[in-house]
């Protein structure tokens, strides 16, 4: 879903706090964090940022800033320095020193992500198992662990966490959403169902990979009744891709085509197109797949529904009157 927005982070410490025995007061931690953050922002190289982060974490390993600093440093190590192994070492080392249960949990989730990047399925399953019984894991934690496990083909782990995630309900979702995000019960229900479908898609895929094809198809069936589709019938989840591939493997190519076609035509998931091409050929499609896609798109395309909404001066506009001559991009967004 939405990428993590990286704010600022990190460290360096004034005076000799790190040398004293008494734990730092919240004010001291705050001040140290502020100094580190400024040093981080002014850091000339990614390596300098890592040094700053490590110094802060060495002196203040278990504070409310720990998760933020570790995540920022992991991001620099993996993305800017190309050293995902060091990112994993960092999060593992810091987590070992942390006692606060919430921080431990959040670092555990980050650790699972790092192990997925390293393709280390065995260790990922172990770390996930240490988190498994934690009642504090929320939907996004569970689904991110399930998907990390899918990425390394740790199917039992994927099944466990996807099943947990599918237990999302209105109360749980409200607890982890900004106030007012779901103004009506219908908004909340739609959001809950979409997340359930998302988790059930992961669950079904794990079942299929564990050889339980019939269970998987049943799980997908339930998921598809809950999944909210965009106007062209395409899903915002991986459900069509997983379901289509499972149907194809079960010898149901025609059903697979139907499940995949909207996402492949109107979404832009590479996986959906690849799976549709397989299913289409399996049920006798011949010639250029790109030509097939283009003609199917034309055949199934529907007019964009018109609507009237105000601009920021309060002037109402009909969407149709704003359309351009050749191509119009209609985009739905919110400021982050």
């Amino acid at each position: 879903m939405r990428k993590l927005l990286i704010s600022v982070a990190a460290v360096a410490v004034l005076g000799t706090w790190g040398c004293t025995r008494a734990p730092a007061t919240p004010e001291q931690v705050e001040a140290a964090y502020k100094v580190a953050q400024e040093a981080w922002d002014a850091a000339p190289t990614p390596e300098t940022k890592i040094t700053i982060a490590k110094e802060f974490l060495a002196k203040h390993p278990d504070t409310k800033y720990t998760v933020r600093v570790v995540r920022e440093a992991m991001n620099v190590l993996s993305e800017e320095l190309g050293k995902p192994g060091e990112a994993e070492t960092l999060v593992r080392a810091v987590r070992a020193k942390v006692k606060d249960p919430v921080t431990r949990r959040r670092l555990g989730v980050a650790h699972v992500g790092a192990l997925a990047t390293l393709k280390n399925g065995a260790q990922l399953a172990q770390v996930a198992a240490t988190l498994g019984a934690d009642p504090g894991l929320d939907f996004y934690d569970q689904v991110s662990i399930a998907e990390a496990a899918i990425a390394v083909e740790a199917w039992d782990t994927a099944l466990t966490f996807a099943t947990e995630a599918a237990g999302i309900d209105g109360e749980k979702l409200k607890a982890i959403s900004p106030a007012g995000r779901y103004p009506t019960p219908a908004d909340l229900e739609r959001a809950v169902n979409k997340r359930k479908a998302w988790a059930l898609a992961d669950k079904g895929w794990a079942e299929f990979k564990l050889g339980r094809t019939e269970d998987a198809l049943e799980t997908f069936e339930v998921a598809s009744t809950l999944d909210s589709r965009q106007i062209m019938g395409n899903s915002e989840t991986s459900l069509p891709v997983y379901r289509g591939r499972t149907l194809l493997a079960a010898g149901k190519a025609a059903e697979a085509v139907e499940v995949l076609v909207a996402s492949a035509l109107y979404g832009d998931e590479k996986d959906a197109r690849a799976a549709l091409e397989q299913a289409w050929r399996a049920q006798g499609g011949q010639g250029s797949f790109d030509d097939y896609l283009w003609s199917e798109r034309q055949r199934r395309a529907i007019p964009a529904p018109d609507f009237t909404l105000p601009d920021y001066e309060g002037t109402p506009h009909r969407f149709a009157s704003l359309r351009a001559a050749e191509v119009t991009l209609l985009t739905f967004w919110f400021p982050t």
């Binding site: 529907i302 609507f307 105000p310 920021y312 359309r323 209609l330």
Partner: protein, 103 residues
């Protein structure tokens, strides 16, 4: 798809008949105004309604953001795109070019 990148595409193809309409879905008016001004975005902006005037979820079925739709010269939806990742701009640009050429 990030709006500043869409602005680049808009500047590049507007003379060839490409337009953009952006609807802010959650009515976060103040932050939206600030974002539009800060990033110097020049295409059309509208604000989603509420209740019976709500368009984004009710009419277009969109629950995740950003979500985008490309319309051809007949106003038909020909492509949709969800989320933003590295490389998305290239995909979108390829679709826009295809529509301008085939249009």
């Amino acid at each position: 798809m990030e709006l500043p990148r869409i602005e680049e595409l808009y500047q590049k193809y507007r003379d060839k008949g490409f337009g953009v309409v952006a609807v802010e879905a959650l009515r976060d008016t103040e932050r939206a105004r600030k974002f539009i001004a800060d990033k110097k975005l020049t295409f059309a902006f509208l604000e989603n309604g509420t209740g019976a005037d709500e368009v984004v979820a009710r009419v277009y079925g969109v629950g995740g953001f950003p979500s985008s739709f490309l319309l051809d010269s007949n106003g038909k939806i020909i492509f949709s795109h969800y989320g933003f990742e590295v490389g998305d701009e290239e995909k979108l640009e390829a679709e826009i070019r295809k529509l301008i050429e085939k249009g």
